[in-house]
Protein backbone atom coordinates (compact mmCIF):
# COMPACT_ATOMS: atom_id res chain seq x y z
CA UNK A 1 0.00 0.00 0.00
CA UNK A 2 1.82 3.03 -1.28
CA UNK A 3 0.50 5.55 1.21
CA UNK A 4 0.78 3.30 4.26
CA UNK A 5 4.58 3.29 4.21
CA UNK A 6 6.86 5.74 5.94
CA UNK A 7 6.50 9.12 4.35
CA UNK A 8 3.07 8.23 2.98
CA UNK A 9 -0.08 10.26 3.13
CA UNK A 10 -1.83 8.09 5.70
CA UNK A 11 1.07 8.49 8.08
CA UNK A 12 0.96 12.25 7.53
CA UNK A 13 -2.78 12.33 8.11
CA UNK A 14 -2.52 10.27 11.29
CA UNK A 15 0.18 12.61 12.60
CA UNK A 16 -1.56 15.80 11.57
CA UNK A 17 1.26 16.56 9.15
CA UNK A 18 -0.64 16.94 5.90
CA UNK A 19 0.89 20.37 5.31
CA UNK A 20 4.38 18.86 5.65
CA UNK A 21 3.39 16.04 3.32
CA UNK A 22 2.20 18.47 0.68
CA UNK A 23 5.39 20.49 1.06
CA UNK A 24 7.65 17.44 0.75
CA UNK A 25 9.38 18.01 4.07
CA UNK A 26 11.91 15.34 5.07
CA UNK A 27 10.77 11.79 4.33
CA UNK A 28 7.57 13.12 2.78
CA UNK A 29 9.48 14.35 -0.27
CA UNK A 30 8.60 12.61 -3.55
CA UNK A 31 11.00 12.47 -6.47
CA UNK A 32 10.10 12.37 -10.17
CA UNK A 33 10.33 8.95 -11.74
CA UNK A 34 12.20 10.12 -14.79
CA UNK A 35 14.81 12.67 -15.74
CA UNK A 36 12.75 13.39 -18.83
CA UNK A 37 9.44 14.27 -17.22
CA UNK A 38 10.14 15.76 -13.83
CA UNK A 39 8.77 19.05 -12.60
CA UNK A 40 10.69 21.89 -11.06
CA UNK A 41 9.27 21.67 -7.54
CA UNK A 42 10.27 20.73 -3.98
CA UNK A 43 8.32 17.49 -4.26
CA UNK A 44 6.65 15.57 -7.06
CA UNK A 45 3.17 16.97 -6.65
CA UNK A 46 1.62 14.47 -9.04
CA UNK A 47 2.92 11.56 -6.96
CA UNK A 48 1.74 13.23 -3.77
CA UNK A 49 -1.75 13.65 -5.22
CA UNK A 50 -1.83 10.04 -6.39
CA UNK A 51 -1.18 8.92 -2.81
CA UNK A 52 -3.99 11.16 -1.63
CA UNK A 53 -6.39 9.82 -4.26
CA UNK A 54 -5.49 6.26 -3.26
CA UNK A 55 -5.99 7.01 0.42
CA UNK A 56 -9.40 8.54 -0.27
CA UNK A 57 -10.61 5.20 -1.63
CA UNK A 58 -10.29 3.55 1.78
CA UNK A 59 -10.05 6.29 4.37
CA UNK A 60 -12.60 8.84 5.57
CA UNK A 61 -11.65 12.46 6.01
CA UNK A 62 -9.10 12.65 3.20
CA UNK A 63 -10.92 15.42 1.35
CA UNK A 64 -11.11 17.56 4.48
CA UNK A 65 -7.49 16.88 5.31
CA UNK A 66 -6.40 17.90 1.81
CA UNK A 67 -8.50 21.08 1.90
CA UNK A 68 -7.13 22.03 5.31
CA UNK A 69 -3.59 21.29 4.19
CA UNK A 70 -4.04 23.47 1.14
CA UNK A 71 -5.51 26.27 3.23
CA UNK A 72 -2.55 26.03 5.59
CA UNK A 73 -0.13 26.37 2.68
CA UNK A 74 -2.04 29.36 1.36
CA UNK A 75 -1.64 31.00 4.77
CA UNK A 76 2.08 30.30 4.83
CA UNK A 77 5.21 31.72 3.27
CA UNK A 78 5.62 32.79 -0.35
CA UNK A 79 7.16 29.37 -1.03
CA UNK A 80 4.10 27.66 0.47
CA UNK A 81 1.80 29.80 -1.64
CA UNK A 82 3.70 28.92 -4.83
CA UNK A 83 3.40 25.22 -4.00
CA UNK A 84 -0.31 25.54 -3.20
CA UNK A 85 -0.88 27.17 -6.59
CA UNK A 86 1.05 24.32 -8.21
CA UNK A 87 -1.27 21.79 -6.51
CA UNK A 88 -4.31 23.83 -7.53
CA UNK A 89 -3.10 23.77 -11.13
CA UNK A 90 -2.84 19.98 -11.05
CA UNK A 91 -6.21 19.62 -9.34
CA UNK A 92 -7.84 21.96 -11.86
CA UNK A 93 -6.39 20.07 -14.82
CA UNK A 94 -7.52 16.77 -13.31
CA UNK A 95 -11.01 18.13 -12.77
CA UNK A 96 -11.17 19.48 -16.30
CA UNK A 97 -10.08 16.10 -17.66
CA UNK A 98 -12.60 14.21 -15.52
CA UNK A 99 -9.76 12.63 -13.53
CA UNK A 100 -10.32 14.18 -10.12
CA UNK A 101 -11.59 11.34 -7.92
CA UNK A 102 -12.44 13.41 -4.86
CA UNK A 103 -14.25 16.60 -4.00
CA UNK A 104 -12.11 19.60 -3.18
CA UNK A 105 -13.54 23.13 -2.85
CA UNK A 106 -11.44 24.32 -5.77
CA UNK A 107 -13.20 27.62 -6.33
CA UNK A 108 -12.88 28.66 -2.68
CA UNK A 109 -9.24 27.61 -2.62
CA UNK A 110 -8.55 29.58 -5.81
CA UNK A 111 -10.08 32.70 -4.26
CA UNK A 112 -7.83 32.22 -1.24
CA UNK A 113 -4.89 31.70 -3.58
CA UNK A 114 -5.65 34.98 -5.30
CA UNK A 115 -5.38 36.81 -1.99
CA UNK A 116 -2.23 34.92 -1.04
CA UNK A 117 -0.53 35.70 -4.35
CA UNK A 118 -1.35 39.36 -3.89
CA UNK A 119 0.03 39.28 -0.34
CA UNK A 120 3.35 37.78 -1.49
CA UNK A 121 3.58 39.61 -4.79
CA UNK A 122 6.96 41.11 -3.93
CA UNK A 123 8.56 37.84 -2.83
CA UNK A 124 7.27 35.53 -5.58
CA UNK A 125 9.53 36.81 -8.39
CA UNK A 126 12.63 36.17 -6.29
CA UNK A 127 14.29 33.05 -4.94
CA UNK A 128 12.14 30.84 -2.70
CA UNK A 129 13.76 28.29 -0.41
CA UNK A 130 11.70 25.37 0.88
CA UNK A 131 12.30 23.56 4.18
CA UNK A 132 13.72 20.53 2.33
CA UNK A 133 16.36 22.73 0.70
CA UNK A 134 14.80 23.02 -2.72
CA UNK A 135 15.22 26.46 -4.24
CA UNK A 136 12.71 27.85 -6.70
CA UNK A 137 13.49 30.88 -8.81
CA UNK A 138 11.01 33.13 -10.60
CA UNK A 139 7.95 31.42 -9.15
CA UNK A 140 5.69 34.24 -10.25
CA UNK A 141 6.47 33.47 -13.90
CA UNK A 142 5.02 29.96 -13.40
CA UNK A 143 1.94 31.37 -11.68
CA UNK A 144 1.42 33.87 -14.49
CA UNK A 145 1.65 31.07 -17.06
CA UNK A 146 -0.71 28.76 -15.18
CA UNK A 147 -3.12 31.63 -14.76
CA UNK A 148 -3.10 32.14 -18.51
CA UNK A 149 -3.37 28.51 -19.64
CA UNK A 150 -5.35 26.91 -16.79
CA UNK A 151 -7.12 29.16 -14.29
CA UNK A 152 -8.53 31.78 -16.64
CA UNK A 153 -9.87 29.44 -19.34
CA UNK A 154 -10.93 26.58 -17.08
CA UNK A 155 -11.89 28.04 -13.73
CA UNK A 156 -12.87 31.62 -14.43
CA UNK A 157 -10.60 32.91 -11.70
CA UNK A 158 -7.83 35.42 -12.37
CA UNK A 159 -5.18 34.81 -9.75
CA UNK A 160 -3.36 37.99 -10.67
CA UNK A 161 -6.30 40.39 -10.39
CA UNK A 162 -7.26 40.67 -6.71
CA UNK A 163 -10.47 42.55 -7.40
CA UNK A 164 -11.94 40.33 -10.09
Amino acid sequence: MADGKKGGFREAMARGEVESFLRGDGSYRKFPQSDFAGEDAPTDTWKALQEIYDAAKETDGVENALSEGMSALLSGTAADVYLAVLYLTRLSLAKQGGRLPLHVPLHELLLSAREAVEKHRDALPGELTFPNGFVKKAALADIERWNEVVFLPCCGVDLLQPNK
Binding site: Q33, S34, D35, G38, E39, D40, W46, R90, W146, V150
Partner: protein
Protein backbone atom coordinates in the same frame (compact mmCIF):
# COMPACT_ATOMS: atom_id res chain seq x y z
CA UNK B 1 12.52 -5.21 -24.64
CA UNK B 2 15.12 -5.87 -27.27
CA UNK B 3 16.64 -2.43 -27.03
CA UNK B 4 17.16 -2.64 -23.28
CA UNK B 5 19.01 -5.91 -23.69
CA UNK B 6 21.09 -4.44 -26.47
CA UNK B 7 22.00 -1.42 -24.44
CA UNK B 8 23.09 -3.49 -21.47
CA UNK B 9 25.65 -5.40 -23.50
CA UNK B 10 29.09 -3.92 -23.50
CA UNK B 11 30.94 -4.05 -26.81
CA UNK B 12 34.43 -5.53 -26.75
CA UNK B 13 36.10 -2.14 -26.67
CA UNK B 14 33.97 -1.03 -23.81
CA UNK B 15 34.71 -4.21 -21.84
CA UNK B 16 38.39 -3.64 -22.22
CA UNK B 17 37.93 -0.03 -21.22
CA UNK B 18 35.99 -1.09 -18.14
CA UNK B 19 38.75 -3.53 -17.11
CA UNK B 20 41.30 -0.84 -17.68
CA UNK B 21 39.40 1.63 -15.54
CA UNK B 22 39.03 -0.97 -12.83
CA UNK B 23 42.76 -1.30 -12.36
CA UNK B 24 44.01 -0.03 -9.02
CA UNK B 25 46.46 2.43 -10.55
CA UNK B 26 43.77 4.04 -12.62
CA UNK B 27 41.53 4.35 -9.60
CA UNK B 28 44.30 6.32 -7.95
CA UNK B 29 44.58 8.55 -11.01
CA UNK B 30 40.81 9.00 -11.03
CA UNK B 31 40.91 10.18 -7.44
CA UNK B 32 43.67 12.64 -8.28
CA UNK B 33 41.67 13.88 -11.26
CA UNK B 34 38.63 14.42 -9.07
CA UNK B 35 40.67 16.40 -6.57
CA UNK B 36 42.27 18.44 -9.34
CA UNK B 37 38.97 19.19 -10.99
CA UNK B 38 37.46 20.33 -7.73
CA UNK B 39 40.25 22.73 -6.93
CA UNK B 40 41.51 23.92 -10.30
CA UNK B 41 39.20 26.18 -12.29
CA UNK B 42 41.44 26.05 -15.35
CA UNK B 43 41.19 22.27 -15.43
CA UNK B 44 37.44 22.37 -15.02
CA UNK B 45 37.14 24.88 -17.84
CA UNK B 46 39.12 22.65 -20.18
CA UNK B 47 37.00 19.68 -19.18
CA UNK B 48 33.82 21.60 -19.88
CA UNK B 49 34.98 22.33 -23.39
CA UNK B 50 35.60 18.62 -23.96
CA UNK B 51 32.15 17.64 -22.73
CA UNK B 52 30.24 19.07 -25.64
CA UNK B 53 28.82 17.72 -28.82
CA UNK B 54 27.52 21.00 -30.14
CA UNK B 55 29.13 24.38 -29.65
CA UNK B 56 27.86 25.32 -33.09
CA UNK B 57 29.87 22.57 -34.81
CA UNK B 58 28.36 19.61 -36.61
CA UNK B 59 28.04 16.48 -34.45
CA UNK B 60 30.05 13.42 -35.32
CA UNK B 61 27.81 10.51 -36.23
CA UNK B 62 30.45 7.86 -36.70
CA UNK B 63 29.54 5.86 -33.58
CA UNK B 64 26.29 4.22 -32.64
CA UNK B 65 25.07 2.32 -29.59
CA UNK B 66 27.71 2.15 -26.91
CA UNK B 67 26.22 0.35 -23.96
CA UNK B 68 26.29 1.50 -20.35
CA UNK B 69 28.90 3.86 -19.01
CA UNK B 70 32.37 2.42 -18.39
CA UNK B 71 32.44 3.27 -14.71
CA UNK B 72 32.94 0.92 -11.79
CA UNK B 73 30.50 0.81 -8.91
CA UNK B 74 33.12 2.48 -6.73
CA UNK B 75 33.58 5.29 -9.20
CA UNK B 76 29.83 5.82 -9.41
CA UNK B 77 29.50 5.89 -5.64
CA UNK B 78 32.40 8.33 -5.33
CA UNK B 79 30.73 10.74 -7.74
CA UNK B 80 27.30 10.37 -6.15
CA UNK B 81 28.85 11.10 -2.75
CA UNK B 82 29.83 14.57 -3.97
CA UNK B 83 27.07 17.09 -3.23
CA UNK B 84 25.00 18.31 -6.15
CA UNK B 85 26.48 21.53 -7.40
CA UNK B 86 30.05 20.39 -6.76
CA UNK B 87 30.17 17.29 -8.93
CA UNK B 88 33.02 17.17 -11.47
CA UNK B 89 32.69 17.62 -15.18
CA UNK B 90 32.17 14.18 -16.82
CA UNK B 91 35.24 14.86 -18.97
CA UNK B 92 37.36 14.39 -15.85
CA UNK B 93 36.30 10.77 -15.37
CA UNK B 94 35.03 9.56 -18.75
CA UNK B 95 37.16 8.53 -21.68
CA UNK B 96 37.08 10.97 -24.61
CA UNK B 97 36.21 8.25 -27.11
CA UNK B 98 33.36 7.03 -24.93
CA UNK B 99 31.99 10.56 -24.62
CA UNK B 100 32.21 11.12 -28.35
CA UNK B 101 30.42 7.88 -29.09
CA UNK B 102 27.78 8.46 -26.45
CA UNK B 103 26.98 11.95 -27.65
CA UNK B 104 26.89 10.87 -31.27
CA UNK B 105 23.68 8.96 -30.44
CA UNK B 106 21.97 12.34 -30.17
CA UNK B 107 23.16 13.79 -33.46
CA UNK B 108 20.06 12.77 -35.41
CA UNK B 109 17.75 14.48 -32.97
CA UNK B 110 16.62 14.32 -29.38
CA UNK B 111 13.33 13.49 -27.73
CA UNK B 112 11.60 13.45 -24.41
CA UNK B 113 8.16 12.58 -23.18
CA UNK B 114 5.90 14.12 -20.59
CA UNK B 115 2.37 13.86 -19.31
CA UNK B 116 -0.23 16.07 -20.95
CA UNK B 117 -0.72 18.00 -17.70
CA UNK B 118 2.99 18.74 -17.51
CA UNK B 119 2.95 19.83 -21.15
CA UNK B 120 0.20 22.32 -20.37
CA UNK B 121 1.99 23.53 -17.24
CA UNK B 122 5.58 23.66 -18.44
CA UNK B 123 5.56 24.00 -22.23
CA UNK B 124 2.50 26.00 -23.24
CA UNK B 125 2.95 29.75 -23.08
CA UNK B 126 6.73 29.47 -22.94
CA UNK B 127 9.26 30.47 -25.55
CA UNK B 128 11.75 27.75 -24.69
CA UNK B 129 11.76 24.38 -22.96
CA UNK B 130 14.03 23.42 -20.11
CA UNK B 131 14.94 24.53 -16.65
CA UNK B 132 16.17 27.81 -15.34
CA UNK B 133 19.79 26.62 -15.27
CA UNK B 134 19.69 26.28 -19.07
CA UNK B 135 19.35 22.50 -19.03
CA UNK B 136 16.92 19.98 -20.40
CA UNK B 137 17.33 16.20 -20.11
CA UNK B 138 16.88 14.46 -23.45
CA UNK B 139 17.19 11.00 -24.96
CA UNK B 140 18.24 10.13 -28.51
CA UNK B 141 15.33 10.43 -30.91
CA UNK B 142 16.23 6.97 -32.18
CA UNK B 143 15.37 5.51 -28.77
CA UNK B 144 11.97 7.16 -28.77
CA UNK B 145 11.42 6.00 -32.36
CA UNK B 146 12.21 2.44 -31.34
CA UNK B 147 9.80 2.56 -28.40
CA UNK B 148 7.10 3.99 -30.64
CA UNK B 149 7.71 1.30 -33.23
CA UNK B 150 7.63 -1.49 -30.64
CA UNK B 151 4.60 -0.12 -28.87
CA UNK B 152 2.56 0.78 -31.94
CA UNK B 153 1.20 3.82 -30.14
CA UNK B 154 0.53 2.17 -26.79
CA UNK B 155 1.29 4.47 -23.90
CA UNK B 156 1.98 1.54 -21.62
CA UNK B 157 4.98 0.57 -23.74
CA UNK B 158 6.53 4.00 -23.15
CA UNK B 159 5.90 3.58 -19.43
CA UNK B 160 7.55 0.18 -19.41
CA UNK B 161 10.52 1.18 -21.57
CA UNK B 162 11.27 4.41 -19.72
CA UNK B 163 10.71 3.17 -16.18
CA UNK B 164 7.45 4.89 -15.32
CA UNK B 165 4.94 3.08 -13.16
CA UNK B 166 1.92 1.67 -15.03
CA UNK B 167 -0.75 4.31 -15.50
CA UNK B 168 1.61 7.26 -15.05
CA UNK B 169 0.73 8.94 -18.33
CA UNK B 170 -2.94 8.07 -18.14
CA UNK B 171 -2.93 9.85 -14.80
CA UNK B 172 -1.55 12.92 -16.55
CA UNK B 173 -4.29 12.90 -19.18
CA UNK B 174 -2.12 11.32 -21.85
CA UNK B 175 1.41 11.34 -23.18
CA UNK B 176 3.09 14.06 -25.16
CA UNK B 177 6.23 13.31 -27.12
CA UNK B 178 8.56 16.12 -28.07
CA UNK B 179 11.18 15.76 -30.79
CA UNK B 180 13.88 18.17 -31.83
CA UNK B 181 15.74 17.47 -35.04
CA UNK B 182 18.11 20.42 -35.27
CA UNK B 183 20.36 20.05 -32.23
CA UNK B 184 23.71 21.27 -33.55
CA UNK B 185 23.74 24.44 -31.47
CA UNK B 186 22.05 23.04 -28.35
CA UNK B 187 25.32 22.11 -26.62
CA UNK B 188 24.34 18.48 -26.11
CA UNK B 189 26.46 17.17 -23.25
CA UNK B 190 26.73 14.34 -20.77
CA UNK B 191 25.04 15.32 -17.48
CA UNK B 192 27.31 16.17 -14.58
CA UNK B 193 24.62 15.64 -11.97
CA UNK B 194 24.66 19.33 -11.08
CA UNK B 195 21.70 20.10 -13.34
CA UNK B 196 18.49 21.36 -11.75
CA UNK B 197 16.71 18.29 -13.10
CA UNK B 198 19.20 15.78 -11.69
CA UNK B 199 17.39 14.11 -8.81
CA UNK B 200 18.19 11.29 -6.41
CA UNK B 201 17.88 8.73 -9.22
CA UNK B 202 20.62 10.31 -11.30
CA UNK B 203 23.70 8.22 -12.02
CA UNK B 204 26.89 9.42 -13.72
CA UNK B 205 27.94 8.38 -17.20
CA UNK B 206 25.10 9.35 -19.52
CA UNK B 207 22.49 6.68 -18.83
CA UNK B 208 19.39 6.77 -16.69
CA UNK B 209 19.17 4.34 -13.79
CA UNK B 210 17.02 2.26 -16.13
CA UNK B 211 19.66 2.17 -18.86
CA UNK B 212 18.23 4.71 -21.28
CA UNK B 213 20.90 6.92 -22.86
CA UNK B 214 20.52 10.50 -21.75
CA UNK B 215 22.14 13.86 -22.28
CA UNK B 216 21.48 17.45 -21.41
CA UNK B 217 20.81 20.22 -23.87
CA UNK B 218 20.57 23.97 -23.53
CA UNK B 219 17.10 25.46 -23.43
CA UNK B 220 15.26 24.36 -26.56
CA UNK B 221 13.53 27.08 -28.58
CA UNK B 222 9.86 26.19 -28.75
CA UNK B 223 9.72 26.98 -32.45
CA UNK B 224 12.00 24.02 -33.00
CA UNK B 225 9.96 21.30 -31.31
CA UNK B 226 7.70 18.72 -32.92
CA UNK B 227 4.86 17.77 -30.58
CA UNK B 228 3.01 14.48 -30.83
CA UNK B 229 0.17 13.63 -28.49
CA UNK B 230 -0.63 10.01 -27.84
CA UNK B 231 -4.24 9.42 -26.97
CA UNK B 232 -5.33 7.03 -24.25
CA UNK B 233 -5.46 3.40 -25.28
Amino acid sequence: MAKTAKMSELPGKANRLKQWLSAAGVWFLFTVVLLLSAGNPAFAEKASAENAAGDGKALSCEWKWMGKAPLTADQIQAILAIPKGERPDPATYLDKKYMKRHLSQFCDGVSFVMGLDNYVMYVLARKSIGREDNSCFVMPKSVCDEIAKAGKGKISVYEQALGFEPGYFQGHGGLVRIDVIDVADLHIRIPSGNEAGANSWWVPGGYTSGGVPEAVSDLIPKARIIVTRLQEE
